[in-house]
C-alpha cells in the first residue's frame, strides 16, 4: 500500500524530512503498526519514534487513535502534541 507520510515539528527535524511516499508491507494495518514499522527504517526514525505514545497521528488530516486502521488512507501525518494558540 502506497501512502504519503508527512512529519512536523521535532518529529520532522529528527527524521530529517518533511514528507515521503512509502510502500507499506501488508502486515502494517493500524497506526500503531505503522509507528513500529517506521522505527525499523533507520536510526533517525528509531530516535524520533522512541516513545510512540508521545506522538500524535492524523489520517487524511483528521486526528486518529493509535488503534485505528489505515487501510485506504492517502495521507498520514505524524507530529508531537500541538502547541498553537
Amino acid at each position: 500500500m502506497m501512502v504519503k507520510i508527512v512529519y512536523f515539528a521535532w518529529v520532522r527535524e529528527k527524521i530529517g524530512k518533511g514528507e515521503e511516499e512509502l510502500d507499506l508491507p501488508a502486515e502494517v494495518t493500524t497506526v500503531a503498526d505503522l509507528l513500529t514499522y517506521l522505527k525499523t527504517l533507520g536510526e533517525e526514525y528509531d530516535e524520533a519514534l522512541k516513545f510512540p505514545e508521545a506522538v500524535r497521528v492524523a489520517l487524511n488530516q483528521e486526528h486518529a487513535h493509535h488503534s485505528e486502521k489505515i487501510a485506504g488512507v492517502r495521507e498520514i501525518g505524524i507530529f508531537p502534541p500541538m502547541t498553537g494558540g
Binding site: F8, A9, A58, Q61, G77, M82, G84, G85
Partner: protein
C-alpha cells in the same frame, strides 16, 4: 438569522476591528462580542521570536471543525478564527478568536471553548528563538491545556 463563520490560517497579521465589523455590521440582533487575542511573549526577555509551524490543510480543517462545534454548542451568531504561522516577534499577535451572540455568556463561552480546543487539537507547533542566539527548543504541550479542554466535558 444567518450564521457568519470565518476561518483563516495566514502568515500576515490581522486586524481585530475588521473581524469585529465582519460579525456585527448590519446585525442589530448581536448583543455581545468577545474577542480573544493571543500574543507572542518574550518570557522575561529570554526569547527573540517564536517560529510557528503548521500542517497546511489540516490546520484549516481542524479550526473549521472546532468552530462548527462551538457555534452549535453555544448558539453563536458569528465566529471568526484566525491563526498565524511563521516567525512572530514578542508583542505580535498570534491568534484571534471573535464570537458574537445575543447574550454575553454564550459569546464568552464560545471564544473560550474555541481557544481550549485550538490549543490541544489544531496542528500548530511553536519553536523558540532565544535572545542570546543559542539553539531554541520546541515548546512542550502543557497538561493544564488538556485540563482546560476537559472542563467542557465529552462531546
Amino acid at each position: 438569522m444567518s450564521l457568519t463563520l470565518h476561518i483563516a490560517v495566514q502568515h500576515e497579521d490581522f486586524d481585530p476591528a475588521v473581524e469585529a465589523a465582519r460579525l456585527t455590521d448590519g446585525r442589530p440582533g448581536v448583543g455581545a462580542l468577545v474577542q480573544f487575542t493571543g500574543f507572542c511573549r518574550d518570557e522575561g526577555g529570554r526569547l527573540s521570536a517564536l517560529e510557528l509551524e503548521h500542517y497546511p490543510g489540516m490546520a484549516e480543517a481542524e479550526l473549521q471543525r472546532i468552530a462548527e462545534d462551538a457555534v452549535g454548542r453555544f448558539l453563536l451568531i458569528g465566529l471568526s478564527v484566525i491563526h498565524r504561522y511563521g516567525k512572530i516577534m514578542p508583542g505580535e499577535r498570534i491568534v484571534l478568536v471573535s464570537a458574537t451572540s445575543s447574550h454575553r455568556q454564550a459569546a464568552f463561552d464560545g471564544a473560550n471553548y474555541v481557544m481550549d480546543f485550538l490549543k490541544t487539537a489544531a496542528p500548530f507547533w511553536k519553536k523558540e528563538h532565544n535572545a542570546d542566539g543559542s539553539h531554541g527548543a520546541w515548546v512542550a504541550a502543557k497538561d493544564e491545556d488538556d485540563s482546560a479542554r476537559d472542563k467542557w466535558g465529552k462531546e
